[in-house]
């Protein structure tokens, strides 16, 4: 199907009306890289492209308060570079700043938008693990309603039936001290990140670590989460508990199957996870148990 029209939406409602119109098959375009890929591969199937980059609220970056919690609200049409360059980003969210500036090469960071990468769920470096680790949320607008969903839940969700637009990303502003470790595999230095692991833990006052969360990202396959990992506390930490921990991570990885592709993915992620966990456990193990 050839694209017959290109609409520069000026308001969110205009964009929502366009994509909800059952008479015309419309597709959103923001940075354009995803649409370009669809055209090159011959599977762009719509009558109309709806450009949402000229809608002012889609480019907003401001601190907002919702249900008593403060968030940095990032309009979904902001490119990854625009988000990284925000005044608040480096100071409030050093982790997010770090992953945004390393998410791809400069030209593609100027092309990829927050909404675009989240809508397609195609990884951009370590962006998805970082957004999940920060408990970020997405604002989804539909023709007659708006909803908010955690990025982590969004990444695991299936295709939405009703037409929607991701209008913003909400990143909670929380001064929570966390221990973090990031390890990545790049195509070449300082090239694209093809796989990465992010491990976060709350550092307890007594030196223990709690609420350990492990996220991985893998080129083409998207976000990998490891659920049900127990808390580890210094006072109760034993060699057996660490073994149990690494075994539960391995169990997650084994769910990918046994074919050669799964084995390769497992090998890459396992290496990165184990390197991060070694960093996490070593300082604790150095002291007598």
């Amino acid at each position: 199907m050839a694209v017959k029209n290109y609409l520069y939406a000026e308001t969110l409602q205009q964009a929502l009306d366009s994509i909800s119109d059952e008479e015309i098959c419309s597709q959103l375009i923001s940075g354009g890289a995803g649409v370009a890929d669809q055209i090159r591969n011959g599977y762009l199937d719509c009558d109309q492209l709806v450009d949402i980059t000229r809608i002012p609220e889609m480019k907003v970056a401001q601190v907002v308060t919702q249900n008593g919690e403060s968030y940095l609200k990032l309009g979904s049409a902001l490119t990854l570079n625009q988000a990284a360059r925000l005044e608040q980003m480096e100071t409030l969210f050093p982790l997010l700043y770090d992953v945004l500036t390393q998410s791809s090469d400069p030209a593609r960071r100027n092309a990829f938008t927050l909404g675009g990468v989240l809508a397609t769920k195609i990884p951009a470096g370590m962006l998805f693990p970082a957004l999940c680790a920060l408990d970020s949320k997405l604002v989804l607008a539909r023709k007659d309603s708006t909803s908010v969903i955690f990025v982590e839940d969004w990444m695991k969700s299936v295709l939405q039936e009703e037409a929607f637009i991701i209008t913003a990303v909400l990143v909670p502003i929380r001064p929570v001290p966390v221990w973090r470790m990031k390890d990545v595999k790049r195509r070449m230095h300082p090239g694209e990140i093809v796989a990465g692991v992010l491990v976060l833990a709350e550092a307890l006052r007594d030196g223990g670590l709690d609420n350990i969360r492990v996220y991985a990202t893998l080129d083409q396959y998207g976000l990998v989460t490891f659920e049900g990992i127990p808390s580890l506390h210094k006072q109760s930490l034993t060699k057996e508990k660490i073994d149990d921990y690494t075994t539960s991570v391995e169990t997650h990885l084994m769910r990918w199957g046994t074919d050669a592709d799964a084995a390769y993915r497992r090998k890459v992620v396992r290496t990165l996870v184990n390197r991060c966990l070694a960093e996490l456990f070593l300082p604790v193990l150095k002291e007598p148990l």
Binding site: Y6, I29, V35, I39, D105, P106, R108
Partner: protein, 160 residues
């Protein structure tokens, strides 16, 4: 559909298809043949241009997206006399050009960096050029050319 934009300083308009790539419009409708088509999937950077001052790959961008934007191609960075500008001259002086196919994209990426940072480290230059592939030079001479131009522009600013 018709689009209007500024191309290398001049206001232009063209009739295009809604799904036409910027790369194709620049090369075929405006004869900007310095914008090279390499991989066509945003990997090699040989089609790099500046859109509103930001580095973009014109093979993964639709022409319709540049409506009312300011587009600069390699043809727009030449010196006032039409000869190479200081960065292009540095490429020549440092042997940064072999087959030359990647050179326009490399120069555009270099210009994008220097417009923001006139004192880049070699690592920062390497990062700025990380979306541009060169299969001839091994990159070192290209990095040196950008580094040298940054120094020249800094000196020129200090003299003023």
């Amino acid at each position: 559909m018709k689009i209007h934009f500024r191309l290398n300083g001049s206001l232009v308009e063209r009739q295009i298809e809604p799904d036409q790539f910027l790369l194709d419009v620049l090369r075929n409708s405006f004869e900007m043949l310095g914008v090279k088509e390499g991989c066509s999937i945003g990997e090699c950077g040989s089609c790099s241009v500046l859109v509103d001052g930001e580095l973009r790959k014109s093979c993964i961008m639709l022409a319709a997206q540049v409506e009312r934007c300011d587009v600069v191609t390699i043809e727009g960075v030449a010196g006032e006399d039409g000869g190479p500008n200081d960065l292009q001259q540095a490429f020549l002086d440092h042997g940064s050009v072999q087959c030359g196919f990647c050179t326009p994209g490399m120069v555009m990426a270099g210009e994008a960096l220097l417009s923001e940072n006139l004192a880049p480290s070699r690592d920062e230059i390497r990062e700025a050029l990380s979306g541009n592939l060169c299969r001839c030079t091994g990159y070192q001479q290209i990095i040196t050319a950008v580094e040298d131009t940054a120094q020249q522009r800094r000196s020129a600013l200090e003299e003023k």
